[in-house]
Symmetry: C2
């Protein structure tokens, strides 16, 4: 068995069923070994960025390893965007890349030479800080060690990408029959026993709380404890707000679900966070977009307790945190259910107050149904109406990111995924991975006409795959957020945001037709529902473009005031634009610290 | 004046006239400052990769700084491919990127946190090994220092990219009127005086040579000494072979020009290299593709002297080099002309022998004119025939790279550029930069249907720019080189190389039409000339697809034999496939070491 064969066999045995691939000369034996591994389906994309983005979505939806195979040099470099996105968003993925012969890699690693060997660059230099583990496979006798360690690292603790590069002359080497090196992980930092104390502290804080709140992030999902999480909040009747990456933890209609906090969150969540007296943060790193640019203002009447597996995230400067607990929710969440929370005061009214906020301040307003073009909040609202819970949903970045995350009304069991930390335009092509993760059932992605171009080549892959992938494009004539920034801060000096200022985006329907994919354009609110229904029901790929206003307002949002010295100061986190009348906002603030 | 304004003003004063840009929130003040700098034309691309690739081509054609402006996070990461390509190919470019606020960057640089701030990743981690200089602009008082140092570093010695990232809160800060810090370069390692000794050694070696040869690379061009170089070889009647990046140093018809050495070079150059008794290598790093996988076999009858500005390249393991001289050709080349080369034996016959080889073994053969589809060597031959010397030519990688480089017959004064060290598919979009560098006159790029998809989004930019950019696509139904590898080494196990094995490429003419660009398809050799003429004469963009054989042979090439143990052994460098009859090859080998 060769090194390349061993690697593919290892992955197959681990249950990997999908590979995102671009072939290449420096990966020829790896490619051939994968070719002969019939249990792994290879999806050939047209830019390595799409491979890593797809593996990111695939792995975060399934919880299984996302697998990418690329070649050396440009193949490796092109993969970095999705890699870094997967790193910031905790995606367990493995990239295997080809490389020049071992002697070239070894020489590059000890010299400052710019490039050596055919397409040989020192891959490690460009990707090491975006992975949990990187190794050059330098010895066939060690291949078991490298694979086991890489696999373990991708999935343990806070998940993330790992990378193995395999020099061309090593790929075809025979693996010795007797495995000399294998990998044994160190004893885990985490255990059920170890987290008992933290659970008791949090249970105790909650017991003394009058207005408890849970803020939950993707960590709950990645730890596989969604059921335990639901059990906890329901048993204790604690309202919940979810972050961008935690959106699909709890359905919109659940009485304990309040909303999403953040700069482009919603009013109910932001107000709730400012009224709570205890906030327990579970599996969220409390990113700037979730808790505001002025993070000290988040939860300003609360004692905040944070449970996260990543000590770097726990220790970063930011909000006033009373208790930081480095714990793995796999152990922590069941243990927390064992700890006794015994509220000294009844907080049913508080829970009701939060639920009422949700209904009082919806993101989607009736007037959004009007207009010549389609208000994108109305679009999102209609998509939510029409989707079943078997359709997976992916969202790109840009204004569509805010609109979809704000306006989404999750159904129970529905999966919803977006790009978080890196927030990369063009993430929409990860829909290839999302569709594979969703067993090739209906999968939709919402993007913008600007982001679409960044990975337009993947229309070819969508066409070839021929599964019910629905690309829904919010067309606002270029880059909407940039346009709004240039109006707000640059006195209407528009620059690279629309054709008029130098950025031309082509006719999407014509592009769809050129790639041989069905195209549907929705011009106005009147035809929205029926056309959308057709798009969602079609059993093959569809490109659906929705014509939206060029000046669509993205609201509500936390806003800033410009101070006399030109700097910006964030308003109170609960005081979102459009501003509520002073009295009305005051009436919402029931939880001031006494 | 703000930091952002200072930076744009600095570049303007240095004569920078073009910027390759994608706007972004974290670069908003930089974007606005550029918007107000009317002397710099901004070209808005649709993926940051296209910005750095364009700047690479622009800078290598003009010798001036290529300028890229991108935003933080994904903008920076997306720029890496063109950046690394520019690094390996010595392109003087400057990337300026936005970034989260300074405090976030400072925190990231001292912690292991994965991501911090809005789209904030620690850019330095991912790009530093691909640039000559990287800095975070952390103080408005130091902006002059940073700009001067970055500008100097990009252009001095062996050119290459530099990178400045500017945190959002620094971009708009006022630069103090009194500049406190400025940059003074250290005394140069290079001077006319210092290189005298090396010149004499080389002059002396040449004087005693019977079969002298010069191998010239891009360094001659980058040092701006093409005239001095021509003067030297003409004065001394020395035959010349040029590497891939040095192709446009000397015209095909020049009696001293022999060809291009390499794995996919040509017979005349490879045979000449093996007959020479002295080879002087000027401004070439002797890459694997130029001198073969078994580099010790290159110039095996010669004493090799190498003059290069980069000590890392000079000192790498590889060919048997007799003299290594770390010198800047700016000084060296004029000085070499001053040194007296006084041949002890007349070598006119040798020069004639080399010239005869060129005519005896042309790459383009008469039978290539036939066939149902268009032989790509015939295509290249026809393009060469029809082009004037004002048309700049760019070549992507893949099989088109080999075919175009092998078959090109350069006209005097014509510019010809390709991707060298990184050899990145999708490089074709650098034609945007090449066209700007060529004063928006006719500019053509040759690519393949596989590479095309990697940056297909740039059709939008080409359409918007509306200049005579001609994209010529060799359609061989996917990835030709991969297909050939899979036939040769994998017993026809085809995998991800054509629609049949999982890689679908769309109808290019339909794509061109969708982007609103004129499309021309050439189906057979009979219509090649007339249609090509139309394409080249049209004064606006054209996408021209040429239908070529799926199994086009790429010949001649240095080949390898498979040894009994499965490893490959390279044949003699001069013994290219298709193999010459033994006698005929022997009759070419006049220069065996005695």
């Amino acid at each position: 068995m060769t090194v390349a064969e061993y690697m593919m066999d290892f992955l197959k045995k681990k249950g990997v069923d999908t590979a995102f691939v671009i072939t290449g000369g420096q990966a020829m034996y790896l490619n051939d070994a994968l070719c002969r591994t019939h249990d792994i389906r290879s999806i050939f994309v047209h830019h390595e960025q799409a491979a890593t983005m797809s593996a990111d979505a695939y792995s975060r939806i399934t919880g299984k390893l996302g697998f990418v195979l690329v070649t050396a040099g440009p193949g490796a470099i092109n993969a970095t965007n999705g890699l870094v996105g997967g790193f910031t968003d905790s995606a367990p993925m493995m990239v295997i890349s080809g490389q020049s012969n071992l002697a070239f890699v070894e020489y590059m690693s000890k010299s400052n030479i710019r490039q050596y060997g055919v397409q040989g660059i020192n891959t490690r230099d460009f990707v090491e800080k975006g992975v949990k583990y990187f190794a050059t496979v330098d010895d066939p006798a060690k291949i078991a060690y490298y694979m086991e360690r890489a696999y373990y690292m991708a999935l343990e603790g806070r998940p993330g990408p790992v990378w193995l590069e395999v020099p061309l002359n090593v790929q075809g080497m025979q693996v010795p029959e007797k495995i000399l090196y294998s990998f044994t992980p160190e004893e885990s930092l985490f255990s059920a026993k170890k987290c008992k104390e933290a659970c008791e502290k949090i249970a105790n804080a909650l017991s003394n709380s009058k207005r408890p709140l849970v803020m939950a992030g993707q960590g709950v999902r990645l730890a596989g404890v969604v059921d335990e999480f639901m059990q906890f909040i329901e048993k204790n009747n604690i309202p919940v707000i979810t972050t961008r990456l935690g959106i699909d933890l709890i359905e919109y209609e659940h009485p304990l679900f309040v909303g999403h906090p953040g700069n482009y969150g919603d009013r109910p969540a932001n107000i709730t966070a400012q009224n709570a007296d205890v906030i327990v943060v579970l599996g969220s790193r409390m990113s700037t977009s979730s808790i505001g640019h002025d993070s000290k203002m988040f939860g300003r009447n609360a004692d905040i307790y944070v449970v996260d597996v990543d000590k770097e995230e726990l220790n970063k400067p930011g909000p006033n945190i009373k208790g930081r607990f480095m714990e793995d929710l796999r152990f922590f969440m069941p243990e927390l259910n064992n700890a006794s929370v015994d509220f000294t005061e009844n907080h049913d009214e508080w829970a009701k107050f939060c639920e009422n906020l949700k209904h009082k301040y919806p993101v989607m307003l009736p007037e959004y149904r009007d207009g010549e073009k389609v208000n994108s909040y109305y679009l999102i609202d209609q998509i939510c109406e029409l989707l079943d819970n078997e359709t997976a949903v992916l969202v790109d970045t840009g204004s569509c990111f805010h609109v979809a995350a704000q306006g989404w009304k999750l159904r129970k069991g529905q999966r919803f995924l977006t790009t978080g930390g890196l927030s990369s335009m063009g993430y929409w092509c990860a829909v290839l991975g999302a569709c594979a993760a969703n067993n090739y059932k209906n999968t939709i992605v919402i993007t913008g006409d600007g982001s679409l171009q960044m990975n337009i080549q993947e229309f070819a892959t969508i066409k070839h795959l021929n599964k019910p992938i629905k690309v829904i494009i919010i067309n606002n004539n270029g880059y909407l957020l940039i346009r709004q920034t240039q109006r707000t801060y640059m006195e209407d000096r528009f620059f690279g945001e629309s054709p008029e200022s130098g950025l031309f985006c082509p006719d999407t329907m014509a592009i769809a037709a050129a790639y041989g994919i069905k195209g549907v354009r929705i011009e106005n609110p009147g035809e929205l529902e029926s056309k959308l229904r057709d798009v969602l029901e079609y059993d093959k790929p569809v490109i659906c473009e929705v014509m939206c206003p060029e000046w669509q307002a993205i609201i509500p949002r936390v806003s800033s005031d410009k101070l006399p010295d030109g700097t910006l100061r964030q308003r109170n986190f609960e005081d979102m634009y459009p501003f509520l009348p002073e009295n009305e906002l005051a009436s919402c603030m029931i939880g001031k610290k006494t």
